[in-house]
Amino acid sequence: MSASATALTIILVIIVLGSLIGFRAGAHREMDLEQWTVAGRGFGVMLVWLLLAGEVYTTFSFLGASGWAYSRGGPTLYILAYLTLGYVVAFFVLPPLWEVAREHGLQTQSDFFRQRYGSVPLAALVALVGVVFIVPYLELQVDGMGIIVEVASFGAIGRRGAMALGAALVAAFVFASGVRAVAWVGVLKDLLMLGAAVAIGVLVPLHWFGGIGPMFRALIHAHPTHLTMPGSTRNLGHGWYISTVLLTALGAYMWPHLFGTSFTARSADTLRRNLVVLPLYTITLPFLLFAGFAALLVVPGLANGDLSLLTLVRKTFPPWLLGTVGGAGALTAMAPSAILTLTASTLFAKNLYRPLFAPDMSDDRVAALARRAAVVIMGVAVALALTNSKTIVTLLLIGYAGIAQFFPGVVLGLFWRRAHKVGVFSGLAVGIAAAVVLLLTGRDPFMGMNAGFVALAINLAVTILVCLAISPDADAAPMPVTPRAAPVPGMPRATAGADPS
């Protein structure tokens, strides 16, 4: 068997194995709206934890982080900081949020805005922004899948063919499964990734340089400025680092799919204790960066840095190991893609289309609409992946520029009585507009700072000023005091397992 055939076969075996685990988990269940999206709220603590923590190991960290370590150098270090700090932010925000969700039987992020601010347009705007900015996140997973197929085939399958094949595999996985499948595949994915990260980060430097220390010595000698900021870039200095870390740390749990995941935890206390130890889960991330640094010396001159980790693995290890690493990478693209598509399509059908256009739509029809929306969203992500060549990390930063704009509305909503719908709506609208204008006109970084962070600062200022300037409407009294209030109007009766009423 040729090298590429061996590698591709092993990748396929791992994908099939992962899918079988998923199908077994999803078998014998009616796939209604609840099952397809929140698995009927039947997840134990371990699975919730894996869903929350598994975010660390997606294509972004696997190919994207090593890719930026290769092509950008120092600025990549933001990735080692923001996840750690994201857990710190989550420690203070998620437990109170969980309590609100439990008191009112909330299911999605948009539900929270509707409940807290009593505004259908605001909730719809939140759903719309969520759907739009999930697309770049989805696009980067498809991108990663294409890269894996391309490198593992030793170039036999070209970029476009690889991307199309990768997208087909991801789509098949998404439609056949649901969130339950994703959670179980997550177990396999995390185990394989932890192993692969350490193996690559330790064995590759050992093979080529005799260890991690000698590898860094060689790198410092060959590229003295690559390892500190701005590294091999001109404009990603310390101002960019601070603003990017703040944007991404504050935005980390504003992603609609993660926001909703926390709702399924048992208690606020469980959530807190999990978040205390979660930073330890990121300890293998640096090893992926090491791979990117090593690749700069071993396989210099790649046009696309995102190819560096796999190209390095291909050059260092036998084909079967390339296949195993590729298979692990494939799962890290597929499982998150499924979650992202599910979240975006559900947000569209349930929180955007139904409240605005068809208030009396039945749950079954919402579920059917969600499946059709999933096809469209997936299609858009694939089309974008085929037509543009942004790096994986850049794509995620575009997503963050949009998603982080929810932060003021969420945090002020939880802790500040004066926050009201007019203020939050204005802040969010202005923030998103600022982010879109800055990104589309190529002004990122803006005055040395991350454009998304600039937009977030504007958003926060506008939100606070408008809330102070206009007194809240009497009919939108913040946070009704009645405990366990009736479910949000227009929503299915939340079967929140956590709601004991």
Partner: protein, 90 residues
């Protein structure tokens, strides 16, 4: 409206932000090399371990604050928790 976190807990939560975000220009350098790692990489890895220590302290303060003011939304009684989502069915 939710009980705001105690200021001691917030202060502990701010420590990692100061250490690995705001002070970047102090530690973003290659030397001294520690355990074979450039100093900036070593520093960030160190805080992956120290941050849970800060959060553990914050957790203790939050628990205490919740016990002192039980009326302010804290975890429900134990028997209520047990009626939470059922375990993953076999």
């Amino acid at each position: 409206m939710k009980r705001r976190p105690s200021w001691l807990a917030v202060a502990l939560g701010l420590i990692p932000f100061v250490a690995i975000c705001f002070t970047v220009s102090l530690w973003d350098r290659v030397r001294p090399v520690v355990a074979g790692l450039p100093f900036n990489v070593f520093w960030l890895m160190l805080w992956m371990v120290l941050t849970p220590a800060c959060l553990w302290g914050a957790y203790r303060f939050e628990r205490r604050a919740a016990e002192e003011r039980p009326e302010a939304s804290e975890p429900p009684a134990a028997d209520e928790i047990r009626r939470g989502p059922p375990e993953e069915p076999r």
